[in-house]
Point group: D2
Chain length 355, copies 4
């Protein structure tokens, strides 16, 4: 039976989204002879009832399919749609667009919105997790995480040579408001001296003592601090936090000011906010593979009429879990007792005061 | 109790070996206050009873530890030692060098030799798997594999633009004498049209028909073929294989000649043998993390007096398995029924005639 | 006055060709309101009177113009066309296609053919030099050279770690049949011990002595040899050259066999033929800039009605020279008395026996 | 006659500094049998009379010389020394350290200080220009510029996919307080829509009109703005500039606020301040070559007893110019009539209101 499948990408972009689209379209076209249409800008495209035709050779450049190598999403995305105000219109779009099923690629915030709509509208939904934060529950891998770690490690390498040349404390602020996976993975892989994440409270005193020890005991004249944007100091430091000179001041700047204080301006600090480059870049091999397998399997789930599922990577296998299970669960945070935290401590990296 | 731990790297080099060394030395020094010495050139260093002192700041460049970023192994390696002829001398070296335990990083061939020696000599051994082929049994990840896939994908990208510009069939010969993981992963991630691996027999007829179909049905004027060096055609093609013009002729060259034949020289083929660059490069973030966790955990196993174990990555966790279990097992090959083979077929990639 | 300009790319592809196309189209469209059409596959497209429409947004991917980042050429190329047999047909194509001028991007071989046709057919031609060999006379830069050097340096880096890990002599065969610029630039930038180029004769004796000295005097256990595919030994070695085991045997393999002989198989050699990856890759910043300036200036020359010119980079400026001057001149070879040869010798690199 | 040569690196670090050191040491050791010692931290090392021994194999990692691949400087640097307060002590250091000549690698600020000291102290000085800003007079190339452009182009590529996915105006703030070379080169090579540099005044009105036109005329929904940190708006906008919400607010943030104003918050802007990563990275092939040739030639100048000279790249050749000529000259700025400005305008890039 012929099907017309919609696909959309929602939330912050990341490398690998286009690989999902490519795999889903190829598999649907080749194996099932189904049609796939793109919904541009996620809920906004639904609201406006727009579609983009997708085929195996949609953006052909001498036969080169650029989707595999492109970061971002050719379908566009929105970070949040004013969906509640227009829920009825959006709900009606699924049928108006003649969709038989919908593949939604998003982080847990985006998937939650789409899932609510799908439930209300009785849509046939398959979800695919993407997030450079890697905090979607029930899956070991989300699309974009591996590329983002590699991007940050590359940046840390660049900054390390500058820090070492000038004997500086280089503070690298990375994404991660509630989950520290990105900071933890990239900090260990990049050779950081300090990793500050939201899950593990730290004290300015503990941080400054560690920096002193690096200088005095290990004769190391520079230091690399990787700090997640949401890494908060312990409560005893909260008042100090207020001293941060501007409201817009990020976590990296706050740390820099505290280090200046505790070292009596003896430590020369610099802050580097990596920002949006963390979302960019050519997808890594692992992200391409994960995205390709997810895109392909999403189409198979539709063939098997298994809906309201999210694809997941568990124990080296692609599985699917009821999407509401995922969304009811808290986001996946760094476990303070995990092997990576233990590894960081073994290497002498400061990851907070508790051990 | 103080310990003196030896560490050696054996077999073909790959990115990540130095990350293991760095992590083992740091953890042993910092956490246990143990000494770690390197054994240069694996069994050859044992035979000659040489050691290299290793400390947390062994190769300090303004405090930058280059071990994290360096491919290869600072300890040197040998691909095979004439160990049987000198087994008694080597066996005695462990005690002569005053070792309390030995960490050996190697592929299954190398680990087998070291394990035999360890059993004969009653050495306290912990093994760590490394191989760009990813064919060590009982572990999902071996050090070097992730970097190698990324290297090959980068090479495929470069070759794709050249192939497309000249409407050529570009044959990319990659490593893999018995296991096709490298070809399969990089071929899917790199957007290949054909992937030939040792585990799945192919026919020249099937291959040529696929190339025709690409041209005629999909209007695709070029093609990318990723072939593992050990990918053999079906028996019906064996006689043709003999026609390959030189004994040194590799698998890629053989395929090129067969395509020239079957297309009456209408297809313009080029062969690119990636060779040793597949072993090189700055380690990827994932290889750095795996290597760091393995190096750290190997030291912990010694602290727990768990010997004759190999570290392994299973279901998102670091575990250890009796090393003889691993070595008794056949190398891990591509399962023809795996999700990656199914994914390749879904995307229209030719991976042999059986489905 | 409205014009219709043709553009073609001819000869071996290289990074930067698409940047020329992009700049020429944008400038012609925006500044002069002229039309630009692509001639696919150079002379073959002329013969078959095919055109590809080109506009500022021809291959739009969400507004991203991929031409800047793509290697190869979206117009396709041919290495040689059987142009003489069809010269009359091709000559008539210029008028048949309604062209007012033609921009041809090629190396000196390709430009010579196009120039001959242009002269016979009274075409209005502007030539742009591209070649990874950088051997076009009268211009310091040709498109593709800078990216190719960076690609080779990256490969040398990868191979160096493998060579050092195994104490090997790694022979890296690079492009360059008559000109050694690529080998010389990449060898110095990549830290080679030996650079063999067509312009400077070497002896196997001199080469082997250098390798011995590296081992014995400098205690360096491995070596990196960069050899251009056209680097010939001195006449005294010619007979030895015949010993190379197959007719297809490349220069790298020949060197490997000679080193095995002269070292009584004591040196462990490996050959890595970089091949087509040298033509690939995302264009470097310098190649993008050169290509963009050339593409823009070619359109300006047409506006000024200056034809039969080739664009050239001289003394930090874009100039133009009569194309027949370039083509009458021998290709630009490495001057044995140049500062780069002197630099190589200063660093202790073997570049042949004469000093 | 034996000589003892000092070498120091001063000012902000950049890729290629270590290549200079390596070449100078190798050439001095091999060709002249001279000694080279490093002066750590430039003037601070002079003041403290410290030296670092340098030899061809100083930081040997299995024979791999890491100097070629390392960013930063193994000698350390200072951005400014409190040299005037200690001038007498520093002046005496040259003789106290037994130096016969001094090679100083620096930007024009650093070279000016060293040159003043050299004149007062009668030191034998050779200067080598380095700066990612490329604003040293009398030389076409300074070390570090080519790598920095490539780094920025890579960042722009990453940001472009994110900007396009979300229909954003992405503002990329790059280094350049008085000279816009870095912004101009990377903006053209990276495909920017707007390039703002200190040399060309712009108006917020002109900028906003250009952004409107991109949207309306070219249907381009996103835009990339590359802005040098010192790019000032025209005087009519100065009052608006004061509205920038914080004193620490950078040029990128200022532009973002102005665009928000002029578009009535219809344009979604993001700012990415590239910061210190612009100084990092593995040196590009061109920077390696320039640095190697400069390091080698500096030693030759000492052999020829030509002092008070700065090495320079002019018209494809290495030359030397009296260092005071360079320092008396204003820094090299972007010429508003240069071919690159004309090229940018031809491609439809907004580079300010004057044409």
């Amino acid at each position: 039976m012929h099907k017309r499948i919609g696909i959309l990408t929602s939330g912050g972009d990341c490398p690998g989204l286009n690989c999902v689209i490519r795999a889903a379209v190829s598999h649907a076209n080749l194996t099932y002879n189904w049609e796939v249409v793109g919904i541009p800008y996620a809920t906004q495209g639904l609201l406006e009832r727009q579609t983009v035709p997708l085929s195996m050779h949609g953006w052909d450049l001498r036969g080169i399919d650029p989707l595999l190598n492109m970061g971002g999403t050719v379908l566009g995305s929105v970070n949040k749609g004013d969906t509640l105000a227009h829920a009825d219109d959006i709900l009606a779009s699924y049928e108006a667009l003649g969709l038989d099923a919908l593949i939604a690629v998003g982080g847990d915030g985006s998937l939650k919105i789409i899932h609510q709509l799908a439930t209300l509208g009785n849509w046939k939904l398959v979800g695919i997790p993407k997030t450079i934060d890697n905090d979607v529950a029930f899956t070991e891998r989300s699309i974009g995480f591996d590329t983002a770690i590699n991007t940050i490690v590359d940046a840390i390498n660049r900054l390390t040579f500058t820090a070492a040349s000038h004997d500086r404390v280089m503070i690298v602020e990375v994404m991660g408001r509630t989950a520290g996976h990105l900071a933890l993975h990239s900090g260990i892989a990049g050779g950081a001296d300090v990793i500050l994440i939201p899950e593990l409270p730290y004290t300015i005193k503990g941080l400054c003592e560690h920096l002193s020890q690096l200088r005095e005991r290990w004769r190391r004249k520079f230091a690399i601090i990787v700090v997640a944007e949401g890494a908060s100091p312990c409560s005893e430091d909260v008042d100090n936090a207020a001293s941060c000179s501007t409201a817009k001041c990020g976590r990296g700047q706050y740390i820099a000011e505290q280090i200046a204080n505790c070292s009596n301006n003896q430590l020369d600090t610099r802050v580097s906010v990596l920002g949006h480059i963390q979302r960019g870049g050519i997808p890594s091999a692992l992200d391409r593979l994960t995205a390709t397998v997810f895109g392909k399997t999403a189409v198979d789930l539709i063939a098997q009429e298994k809906y309201d599922q999210m694809l997941s990577w568990q124990n080296g296998q692609v599985v699917h879990v009821p999407i509401h299970n995922v969304l009811d669960q808290s986001p996946s945070l760094v476990d303070p007792h995990s092997y990576l935290i233990a590894t960081a401590q073994s290497l002498g990296i400061y990851v907070g005061d508790r051990k």
